[in-house]
Symmetry: C2
Subunit: 472 residues, 2 copies
Amino acid sequence: MPLEKREMQLLDENELSLNLIEAQYFLKNTRDQNNAKSVLVLVNGIELAGKGESVKQLREWVDPRYLRVKADPPMMLDQKQTFWQPYASSIPAEGQIMVMFGNWYSDLLVTALHVSKPLTETVFDAYIQDMRAFEQDLKNNHVDVIKVWFDLSWKSLQKRLDNMDPSEVHWHKLHGLDWRNKKQYDNVQKLRQRFTDDWTVIECEDEKARDQQFAQTILAALEYCPEHLSQNKEKWKQAVIPEALLHPENQPASDEDYKKELKKLSLKVAEALRLDDREAIIVFEGMDAAGKGGAIKRIVKNLDPREYDIHTIAAPEKYELRHPYLWRFWNKLQTDEDITIFDRSWYGRVLVERVEGFASQVEWQRAYDEINRFEKDLVNSQTVVIKLWLAISKDEQAARFKAREDTPHKRFKITDDDWRNREKWDEYLNAAADMFERTSTAYAPWYIIANNDKNTARLEVLRAILKQLRAE
Amino acid sequence: MPLEKREMQLLDENELSLNLIEAQYFLKNTRDQNNAKSVLVLVNGIELAGKGESVKQLREWVDPRYLRVKADPPMMLDQKQTFWQPYASSIPAEGQIMVMFGNWYSDLLVTALHVSKPLTETVFDAYIQDMRAFEQDLKNNHVDVIKVWFDLSWKSLQKRLDNMDPSEVHWHKLHGLDWRNKKQYDNVQKLRQRFTDDWTVIECEDEKARDQQFAQTILAALEYCPEHLSQNKEKWKQAVIPEALLHPENQPASDEDYKKELKKLSLKVAEALRLDDREAIIVFEGMDAAGKGGAIKRIVKNLDPREYDIHTIAAPEKYELRHPYLWRFWNKLQTDEDITIFDRSWYGRVLVERVEGFASQVEWQRAYDEINRFEKDLVNSQTVVIKLWLAISKDEQAARFKAREDTPHKRFKITDDDWRNREKWDEYLNAAADMFERTSTAYAPWYIIANNDKNTARLEVLRAILKQLRAE
C-alpha cells in the first residue's frame, strides 16, 4: 500500500478517529482467529520533521491504551549481536500495534554515520537485505511491518532549527548529528534512499497533511487482515531418509576405554568452549529416549554452573503462540550466558509441529528457510551453532522405555505421550530427513550421532562439538 | 529446617542423587496443583568457600535441565530501584528451581563494603528487614526461599589463596575485596552475622561434607510441599462504604469553563510530571464505564508518546498465574519510561479476584499488606504512586452502557461481561471500601473522584495528580 503514490485526501478528523478506533478493535478481535495479525510500525526520518508529533496525534485519535510506543535511543550495530536482538522482545503480539522509534534502521544509520571507518556500500546494502528478509519472515508470521520515513527539505529543516524553542531541545536529541551541516544532511538523504523504496515517505512541510497521511497509512494497515494461507500449491518433495537414521548401530566401547576417553574429551570440550570468543549454542534433537539428557550431563561435567544455561523446550504457552514461532527462542538468547544448550529447539516446527499438525503445511514448509536465516544471523554475530541429532532404532527405544519404567528414578521420564509418539515413528523419520536436507548448512551443519550404544555416542557428541568449534 | 543444627549424615551418593531427582520431578508435578511451589535458592558466602563447586556437584546429582542457575555480578544498591527489581523476572515459576548466586544480599554486602560513606547499622538492618518481608511475601505466594551461607575460617581462606591455581582466578572474581586483609574479612563476617540467623550456614572446611549438606538442604526444601491454605480463621471486618462511593454526584462544569481549565491543568500536569525527578505511576480503578479511558487521554494530551507507557490490565495469562500475583506488575515496571499509567492494576487482587472468587480468602485478605509493602518499596525508590478511583452511580453506569451500545465507535467497548459484572455491584462496593481502608497509606493515598459528570471528573483527576506530585 504505497499511500504516498496516490493523492491523499484530508478526512474529517472525527471520522478518521472513529475509523481508527473501529480498526483497532477489529485488529484486537482477530486474536486467535484465522486472520490474526499484529502491526509493527517503524518510524524514522529527518530530525524535526515531526515524527513524534504525528505519533502523538495518532495516539489522540486512537484508543491510546491499545497503541504501544517504544523509543530506544539508537545504538551502534554490534558485532556480537544480531540487528533484531535488541528489539525482539518488543515485537507485538497478535492483536497489538507497536510504534518503534528506535529500530534496526536507526541503528544502521547511526552506525553508518558515526563509525570512524564508514560502512562500505556493500556492507550497508547487505544489512538492508538481511533486514528486509527478517521483516518478510515477520510478515509471514503475522506481524505486519509498516515503515514510515518522515522527510523534510534542507530549507525547511534550517527554518525549523532557527525557530526552535530552546526548551524543546531536550525532546529532540538530534541523533548526535549536526543538522546545520549540509554535507551531513545530504549524506543522511543518500543513505536512506538506499532503503526507503518500500517505505511510506511523508513530506513534512505541512503538519496537518503529515499527520493525516501517517494516520491513514496506519488505518490502511489495521484494516488489512486477510485470512492466513494454510495449503501450499507446490507438491512437497520428500527427502530420502539417511542411512545413519535407519541404522543407528554403533560399536560399544569397553568401560575402561570409555571412562578414560570421556574424561579427556569432556575436559577438552570445556576448555575449547571457554577459549572460544564466540557464544556457543548447542542444539539436541532426536526421538524420545535418544539420550539427550545423558549427553548434556557429559558436556557440562567440567563447566561451572554459572557458565552455561540449559533450555528444555516443551509445547509453547498460549501467549507465545501469538508471536512468530521463533520469538520464544529469540528471547531465550538475550542472556549473557556464553554457552546455551537446547534440549529440543526451534526444530520442533518441522518435527513435532509438522507431524502432529500443530503447524499448517505452509508454515512448516516455510520454516526451513526461516530457520536457516535465523541461524545465519547468529553465526554472523559471532555465535557457533552446533546441531546434534541422536539416532536410535525403534527397538532400542522400546528397550529404553521398558528400562525406564523399571527404574525408580527414571520412571518420571516416561509418559503415555511417549508411547503415542512412537506410533508415528516413520513420519518422524521423514520429517527428520527433510530437516537434514534443508537445514544442514555450511555455517551450521547437522551431526547425526548413532546412539544405540550410549557411551560411544556420548564420546561422539563431544567430538562433534570439538569439530564444529574448530571448523570455523 | 535449620539443617545445620542437627548432625548431618553423609548419604550414599547414588541414593542422594536418586532422591534429588525424584524430588525434582515431584516438585515439577505440583504445577497447577494445590501444593504447587517453586524453590529459590540464594547462595552467598566467603570467597573460595566453594559455593560454585557445591552447586556444580548438586547439578550433577540432579537432572540439570530442571535446575536453573543465575549468576549476576553484585551491583550496588540503587536509590532509584528497589532491591528486588533486578531479580524479579528471574523468580522461578511453580515447579521450578532457581539457584541465584547474585542476589539482593550480595548487593547489600557490596554496597556496605564499597560505598565511601558506609551504611549505618540502622540502614543496613532496615534493608534486611525489607528483604525478609519480601521473602515472606514470596513464600506466601508459593516461592520457597532457601538461603545458604558458605562459610570459611580466616585460616582456611588464607591457605586456599596460597594454593590457588592462577588459571582459576578468572572464576573467582573475589568480589573486588582484598581477602588477604584480616580486617576486611572480619568486617564481612560481622555484617553477614546481622542477617544469617535464618540461613543454613555451611562450614566449608571439608568439601564432601559441604556438598552433602548443601544437597541435603535442597532435598529437604524440594520434598516439603504442603497444601495451600485457603480459609482464614479470623472473621473479616468489612469496612463501611465511603459516602463518596455511594454519592458520586458532582457539579457539571460549563463547556467553556471546562475547556479553559482542562487546557491549563493538562499543561500543568505534563510540566509537573516532566520536572519531577521521580518516576510516576498513575493507577486507575473504578467500575466499568467509570471513565478511565477518557481521563487517561486528558493526562497524556500534552505528553510526548515516548515519555509514557499505558498498561491495560486484563486477566492474567496461565504462565503468569504460576508466579506470585504481583510478579506480572514487577515486570511491567522494569522499563525506562518515567511515566507509567495503569488502566486497572494489582488492585484486581482485592477487587475482581476477590468478588469472582479467583483468589482464595487467605490470598485476598493477605494482599492488602503485600500491596502496601510493594508500593512502599517503590516510594522509597523515588517513585510517586498516584491512585485514582473513578466513582459512578449504578444508574449512571446503565446510562453509559446504553449510550455505548448506541454509538458506533464505542460499541466495541461493551460486552456481556460488563452487564454480568453489574449484577455484583454491591459486592464490588464492599471490596472497594475494604481496599480504601486498608491501602490508602500516607505514602500512597487513594483519591476518590466523583464521576457522574465526566468533565468535572477529568479536571479533578488532573488536580489530584498535581496534589500528589507536590505532596511529597
